[in-house]
Symmetry: D2
């Protein structure tokens, strides 16, 4: 395999994106390291945008998957019953739902986050008989027309080519109007005014930490406030935990500490544990009014993902050990990022748990830092409306040594860029 | 593994569907046979709704996939360059595009058919600056809000819960207004009348053979007519080849014989060859105006699917041998189905190639036949607005013996049901 | 008063239109004649687009109105009770509803046709809980966003500037697909196919004769067919009788002979009898579920129009004499138009009653004929998707002599234009 | 004429409303007094909801109108040139536009406020190529689907029966989030955040004083702020001056003192001066890109209203005398309303000029006061999201004596109700 990009130029659509930031051909990956065609190794602080929370090719999932395939296990069975699905559901019930006192039905939607979001939107409208859904500034929920209507980013919205992105009211996320402004109070005022023009909502949908929107982390109080408003206004509460879930913020679900009880929860990204396409919608039983196949799809419930997803649950979530590790790692991350932030006037930390980053004030600076980091062997990306946040999404399983090494590379890259900028300014 | 359904009852959403028709737990599958937890073996005439055109666990794809995983090949790499992607693209270019004189960019959309359809809709609107898209009666294009707006089925549309399904004009598919009626003429009249209220279309989208809509097969002339109308009216032509493609109707693309040149082609289902989630949108280069990441998604370009999809292309589409086999098998199928149709007054054959079935006149009868077939060891489903078509979607690779055996079971099941009905009527 | 157009150029919006076809300043009008600032007199075959069915300044209405104003009668009273309104309602009940065995509530909408149409759309959706409304090719129902969504004309639709014109299915009006095609059968097929993508309709709305769409006149059978379909599909039947009503086609309502019972009927244009802004929506009592002021407006029930409208009803509709006259005049009109049509290869008569015209095959020719007619002292306009119909909308009260004179001018104008064209072609 | 309500019960739609508050039949009106069928006289503090700013049957307008009708002046001429229109336009140019240094094209829309609003919305979208329009909490702009989408009131919105009210972003009007909250800052934050989900606006539309929304009066600074935001974001500024215009707030246009230059201004209500249906849209010349008849309508430019409207302009707006009177009257009003407010704990004055009222804290109390006032011979109504404001809309021409008498009745009515409430509470 030579590192030749002609085929992409010739045949892949201009929509491709990450390959532009990381211009090499990857051939292998283990844990938190990726290797390219030229034999270079990179530390991965992107982790498939939080789809590889347990790292690349986890050995236990890998062997379970190989065993499954070797034994001619079902690869595709539509949504028929399979041993793999039963085992996944059982593990999910035992290790995830029961210990948290949660009672949810699991809907195997098409294996993409956006499909889970679309299913949630449709169901919320069916359940309430209302059309309006409230989403939040800087929210990102997907690219299909329903999810895109919830998404704030203008660049993404323009992708609709003028298609209808309505039936959604976009309201301000916590802290989005300046630190002093209580956005909950604002939302409440709009909803309580019968002449506000904001129609009664079918649902509220929010991300506990906004992954694409700049690592904005909602406080427990804000999440509780939204939950309360939803209840008061007869709306369902949908938590989009696609990027923030599966341990990313320190607990399995990112809203656990807030003590809220969403009516629906979307999951995807790291749900398979192995990076395989997989998504699910958790639904409170009383809202599970779907007719059979009313929302269907060919790839509902990726069977290979059931296999690896089950291992992920059993391996990492059978007790509190993993969660405790995450707390320790989060502290390491905060400390390291603060050191970087201290180099840049006005910079500040964003996010929570292992979903943290530094708002460096401009997209240009953040992009330069990430580009320089890649030259140094670190895969890392930006986030935010203007790409102004350097975002660390390391695997949750990253070894301490690797983690510190990667953070060191990031610090070095930042220093390099600041130095270069300084020279250029002189 | 015991064949126990409690976990599904307890935890899986009511939206689940195929498991209701085939109430058993499958544990293994090879070629055209599936085995359940009790050791029963079934002939598979459903083939993952055309997602398993090359059968279950094809040995060559299987070994390539195991090799890839064993070697810590990339499982998830967002849309970064990987050796697996390069190899897939190269094979696709060499074996699929070049021999057919086709020039397309390939967009790795989210790995579901509906995502490819949504991307096509958005791009058509961007390219033309128009909003209206013309789709056809009995068309099925997916469950996310954009694709659902194109879909005709009232049950599926109701799933939107009152969400907006507009910006689409639904016009009659060939033969849908009765055999004598020229639907192209009707469509032309609507489009040429500047006061028809049908706004200038961004695109036409149709399935060459309607998989869910009842195996309605468009003639070459009708497809050519739609292509001509699209061109005359400045609209893009999108062919949804998700179910009908990958050899299902006898050629790789279902529209090949019609000689049309779609502006975009959606692919999914059997594209991975192995039943793995995978979808792509083919785009004529001049329309590939996406900005990087303007339509993005976490699971674009399932890497495992690149591996198996490449093998599928190389194994089955390097020469004409496979296509010749399909022609022979289609004849077998037609003959067998005619025998069944002859048993039922008014019944008629539908479809094309290995995408054929019998319209038995009522959903009730078709469902009974399928249920009885399952008791006899055959997995088969219905299709059509009222489920009135018994649809055969065997793997294209099914062995002659298995194929004939399955068709025999279907004939027997039909006879059983007709006999039972006769007795009941007496 | 000089005939000076500067003030219009300087101050009136470019949206103005009729003044472009008739470039003079009118200062006086009586019966079927209009006089301009230069003292020229014109025969009026436009009649305010059917808003002056009883001619200009009918002496009885005029004196009643002057009396009302002189006595300080209410000019504007919102929708409070007034003697003028009571008298109008009483006359309407006695002379219009009772003799026809009709039982309707009368809603005083804003005094424009489009407002009555919007009220009907809203009410139909409220009553049925459905959103889709079926309107017809070449239909014209008004320029506000609701009515515009029903309107077929592309030029008018473009006026929306990309605003949402959805929730409407445009289906073919009678004869619009060619003389041999049964459009009812087509509509029925679309509605009976549960996978057609045409959502269950809240209402059907049609004009018995399409005034702007080219004087297409629906047969009694077609109207009955639509009424039947509406009933079968749980949809309301709305007849838009704004241009075709008040005697224009030979009976008070244009659908009387068809024997159908619409759920709602829109009226405007000649309802005041005097050309004053006035509109109403007739509603079957069981559908009158409006809450007070749920659809309101400042000018509901123009009081001056109550005065003149009452006189119009009492004067013309107390017995059958007027209707008999109309039949006679219609025959005169048909004969004269046939003479014109005979001059033009391919020309054909359109319309019904005193709402007839000649389709001369091209908008260019029709416009030339109307322009030449104006030079000769006749006010007349075109109609149709491409302005291809020369449309006669004389006052129903036009004196025979004036009528024949006007028709003579039209014949002469046609001959002139044909002669000029002939010379140009040589 | 007997005061008999049977005909209304029998024949008028349940949508009727004002007649429910004032259950009598009016037969005559002069200046600020209305007389009913029983000979009772009422002082009119409603003035046709600001449609009768110059009182009922102003003698000069009355005689001009009678002269016009007597002379067979045009009553209806579609939008042809007439002497009456030319005279109106000339007066408007000379007395309204020129003295204020304003340069606008005048579009004669259909003769209702909602039609002018719809025309403005359509034109703003055409001019900018954008779809989103920003309107404000408690705004009221009309009942047709476009205008209704701008309107905040939930009761009115429900009238749409589920029809599409999208393509509008409802943002908070000044003071609507509590006195301390700077709503402009909020709006700016939403617009400047490229990921807010608020699409780039085609226009902002607001009422300088919200007539139906509770007499909320925007400060000059707020209006300037909105104007600035519109300019910065490439959006048009539409001022809906339908209820607040024609002198109602103390100047001809309600925004004059703010010194803003709207791109479009809607006028209706008192534009005819006489209560006749009439509306117009003022358009900055550079935005007047309408094609002829692109927004049309039968009753554009009510000719009778041209006659009275011209007299109104010449009589009241030829110099500053009238405006000075308004200032004096406003002071009288403020003083009297303060006396009333002082009776009610928490009550506060709302509005500006002769568009003032008292927020009495509850709709129930306000309604009781208005009902009691009517018993005493005063016609007055409530306003506000919950009808909590007692709103005085006297004619601007009301005689001092009548004004004081009416205000006295209102004070008495308030005292009566408070007394009764007090007794009931004991």
């Amino acid at each position: 395999m030579t590192n030749d990009f002609d085929i992409y130029e010739r045949r892949e659509s201009a929509a491709r994106s990450y390959c532009r930031s990381f211009p090499t051909t990857f051939v292998k990956a283990q844990g938190s390291e990726m290797t390219d065609a030229d034999g270079n190794t990179y530390i991965d602080f992107l982790a498939g945008c939080s789809s590889l929370n347990y790292g690349h090719n986890d050995p236990d999932m890998k062997s379970a998957l190989i065993d499954h395939i070797t034994a001619d296990g079902i690869a595709h069975g539509l949504d028929m019953h399979t041993d793999a699905k039963a085992a996944f559901l059982t593990a999910y019930e035992e290790k995830i739902l029961k210990p948290r006192g949660m009672d949810y039905k699991i809907m195997m939607t098409g294996p993409t986050g956006t499909n889970a979001v679309e299913a949630a939107m449709k169901l919320a409208r069916k359940v309430t008989g209302r059309r309006n859904i409230i989403s939040f500034t800087n929210g990102f929920h997907g690219m299909t027309m329903g999810s895109l209507s919830l998404t704030g980013n203008i660049g993404k919205r323009n992708g609709a080519g003028g298609g209808h992105l309505g039936d959604v009211t976009h309201l301000p996320y916590e802290h989005s109007m300046g630190e002093g402004v209580d956005t909950l109070q604002f939302i409440e005022a709009m909803l309580n005014n019968s002449s506000s023009g904001v129609d009664a909502p079918a649902a509220f949908i929010f991300e506990p930490v906004q992954g694409e929107g700049g690592l904005n982390a909602a406080s427990d109080e804000w999440m509780q406030g939204v939950a309360k408003l939803a209840k008061e206004h007869g709306a369902l509460l949908i938590v989009d935990d696609i990027q923030s879930g599966c341990g990313r913020t320190g607990t399995y679900f990112a809203f656990e500490k807030a003590g809220i009880e969403p009516d629906m929860i979307t999951q995807a990204k790291s749900l398979s544990g192995f990076g395989l396409p997989f998504a699910a919608l958790l639904i409170k039983p009383e809202h599970d009014i779907w007719k059979p196949a009313e929302h269907n799809g060919t790839f509902r419930g990726n069977t290979h993902a059931f296999v690896t997803g089950r291992v992920a649950i059993e391996k990492f979530w059978s007790d509190n050990a993993f969660q405790d590790e995450l707390a320790a790692k989060s502290t390491v991350l905060t400390t390291a990022l603060q050191e970087i932030a201290d180099l840049i006037p006005g910079a500040r930390l964003k996010g929570r748990g292992l979903m943290q980053g530094v708002d460096v004030g401009s997209g240009e600076l953040a992009s330069k830092i990430c580009a320089r980091a890649f030259e140094k062997g670190l895969i890392i990306e930006t986030s935010g409306a203007d790409d102004e946040v350097v975002k660390v999404l390391a695997a949750l399983t990253i070894k301490d040594e690797t983690f510190r090494k990667g953070l060191g590379l990031l610090l070095d890259a930042t220093r390099d860029v600041l130095e270069t900028n300084k020279i250029a300014a002189e």
